[in-house]
């Protein structure tokens, strides 16, 4: 997936001189996750701008530059650092277009690396996606496959709205087919990533991988799970979810973030609101245990949702 994201950025920068990158270590270093390796030498320091370690300045400057018509792609080394720029994401990026009645246009993308599972401790391992999806005015995208990552990022860069693009750190190594040539994927469209008839698993990002593994194992037991990948949390496209649910009448929602006030809560509520007559079993949520993520590998894995947790939840609803 690293290559798919890198390609998307490269192609968009080649296509449109208004696109530029700013962030910590994006230039000379090549990106702490090596996504922008080679960019500095090719595009130069004007378009691949190393910043001080100052997240409010990074996001604030991206907003300001976007207002002048540029298309900044600001990189947050990890989504945990977004909290240092929360004011600019929430009070500025998400509100300026509305507050000034459409006069301000913010064609900007914030790329942020999220997720746990790498023993980075509680402050560097969070999956706070739902928090950001709470705010109208912001769009939140979180791909789970290389194909989606490339198409969605290209679309995000061409879009005229502020978009938080969350890349899961442990998905960079994920391999997958990426279509040839230039393509974009519309933002705000969920996708059925695996067809099935017995149960609907609703998930996104890293948990698509976990859910797919669970579905593989369930298939060996003759249980066919359908997996709907949300791909973006706001706008949230419930149509494929409801369509699938009306067929299976059972749902498990799998997210890496904490359960309380999370993506699962939102999706489950909407299913209950919009498809109550189709409910055959209480909807299950699989999520992170409600603790700050510990450093110790065993404890960390205990806290994160595992394949077995998904299988167990599926069997609950069957």
């Amino acid at each position: 997936m690293r290559e798919a994201i890198s390609q998307a950025l490269w192609e968009e920068m080649e296509r449109d001189p208004q696109v530029f990158i700013l962030g910590e270590e994006v230039g000379v270093w090549g990106g702490t996750y090596a996504v922008t390796k080679g960019f500095y030498d090719h595009f130069g320091g004007e378009r691949v701008r190393d910043t001080p370690i100052a997240e409010a300045a990074i996001i604030g400057a991206a907003i300001g530059a976007a207002l002048t018509g540029l298309r900044p792609v600001a990189e947050l080394m990890t989504i945990n650092f977004a909290f240092s720029a929360m004011d600019h994401i929430v009070n500025q990026a998400a509100k300026l277009h509305y507050m000034f009645a459409g006069q301000f246009v913010l064609p900007m993308v914030i790329r942020a690396v999220g997720g746990g599972g790498r023993q980075l401790g509680a402050t560097h391992s969070q999956t706070p996606d739902a928090i950001f999806a709470h705010f109208p005015g912001l769009k939140v995208v979180a791909p789970g496959t290389p194909e989606d990552a490339k198409g969605l990022l290209k679309e995000a860069i061409r879009s005229n709205d502020p978009i938080l693009f969350i890349e899961h750190a442990t998905l960079y190594q994920t391999r997958g087919e990426v279509p040839e040539g230039d393509y974009v994927i519309p933002i705000g469209k969920s996708k059925v990533q695996r067809a099935g008839k017995d149960v609907t698993i609703v998930t996104y990002s890293k948990m698509l991988e976990i859910s797919t593994k669970a579905a593989d194992q369930l298939a060996m037991e003759g249980i066919e799970a359908e997996i709907v990948d949300l791909r973006s949390l706001r706008p949230l496209d419930m149509d494929p979810v409801l369509e699938s649910f009306k067929k299976t009448n059972r749902a498990v929602i799998v997210e890496e973030g904490w359960r309380s006030y999370g993506v699962g809560s939102e999706v489950a509520s909407r299913i209950y609101e919009e498809a109550f007559d189709y409910v055959d079993a209480p909807i299950q949520r699989v999520a992170q245990k409600e603790v700050p993520l510990p450093y110790n590998r065993t404890l960390e894995q205990l806290a994160l949702p595992q394949v077995e947790d998904v299988i167990k939840a599926v069997k609950e609803v069957l």
Binding site: A62, A65, L70, M99, Q103, G137
Partner: protein
């Protein structure tokens, strides 16, 4: 400067004063909601400053923004209508007192989180640097904003990237009710700019022509590609921080002594003494502005409320992909 320009500065200051006095009354009548921060006493700052800008120069400020809007060329009508939350306001009634803007006039708001717009100003300036235009971004803020991290991140970035930005600190001596010496490690705010290696200057904000001259010089410096510049403009607000200010933190004598130093009074005296205008000329302007502002109140009061459909407008630029309910 031509005589006409002198009178224009006077006219703008009087217009701002009258708008603010009307706004205070409308607030007391319950016709303006939310917070209302008046610019009375500080008119010479933005009038002198913005009077020095070229059309390509961007202006961004904090929440005490009505006067700045007028100086940027917004009409009294759209400012007053915004205060009343009407559809004819500059932000169609969605922004209110603290969020006025007109992008066509290069006025970029009106921002209500203290210090938060400084990184935006750095980005606006980056836009001009990137696009190789000769525009300068003028960023205004109070001395209270210089204690928050955003200030330091943005000012540092402006020097590191050599951004064409004019930082303008309006030092009115109080951040809400907290005196500058109780909140800031240095009371001469320009020392903070000094700390970032940015050329800086202190100016008497009660004298519009001094502000104007200092601003012209600063803008010329930045336009020549030398990077950011910092002005600390000493001023004083004659009214409370907002309409809900008990004013327990300063003595009536102090306020009175500053009011005797009224920027409009000082300028008026100067214009007459320097024989640029007669008392009669200025009296005519006063009357004209009085009529203009009363007409603006009338316009705002008779303007329509925003329609209910406006509620869901402009959440996103690309609405077809869904508001997100």
């Amino acid at each position: 400067m031509e005589r006409e320009r002198y009178l224009e500065l006077y006219q703008q200051m009087v217009q701002i004063r009258l708008i603010e006095e009307q706004a205070a009354q409308l607030y007391q009548q319950g016709k303006i909601g939310g917070f209302l921060h008046l610019y009375i006493g500080q008119e010479a700052v933005s009038t002198g400053l913005i009077g020095a800008r070229k059309p390509q120069d961007r202006v961004i400020t904090a929440y005490r923004d009505h006067g700045v809007a007028i100086n940027c060329g917004l009409s009294a009508n759209e400012v007053m209508a915004e205060l009343l939350g009407k559809a004819t306001g500059c932000s169609k009634g969605k922004g209110g007192s603290m969020h006025m803007a007109d992008v066509k006039k290069n006025f970029w708001g009106g921002h209500a989180i203290v210090g938060s717009h400084l990184p935006l100003a750095a980005g606006l300036a980056l836009g001009d640097l990137y696009s190789k235009t000769d525009g300068v971004t003028i960023c205004m803020f109070g001395e209270g904003a210089t204690n928050i991290g955003y200030f330091h991140e943005a000012v540092n970035l402006s020097k590191v990237w050599n951004l064409p930005v004019l930082w303008v600190c309006e030092n009115n001596k109080y951040g809400m009710g907290t005196a500058v010496e109780r909140a800031s490690a240095v009371t001469e705010i320009r020392q903070k700019a000094e700390g970032y290696g940015i050329l800086n200057r202190r100016v008497d904000g009660m004298k519009v022509l001094e502000v104007n001259k200092a601003s012209e010089e600063a803008l010329e410096y930045i336009r020549s590609g030398k990077g950011p510049y910092f002005l600390e403009i000493i001023t004083y607000r004659f009214r409370g921080h907002s309409m809900g200010d008990p004013e327990r933190y300063r003595k009536a004598d102090e306020v009175r002594s500053w009011q005797e130093n009224d920027p409009i009074g000082i300028y008026r005296k100067h214009l007459i003494e320097a024989e640029i205008a007669t008392a009669e000329d200025l009296h005519i302007i006063d009357k004209e502005m009085d009529a203009l502002v009363l007409a603006a109140v009338q316009f705002a009061e008779t303007s329509p409320e925003p329609p209910a459909e406006a509620l869901f407008e402009d959440v996103y630029f690309e609405m077809e992909s869904g508001v997100g309910e």
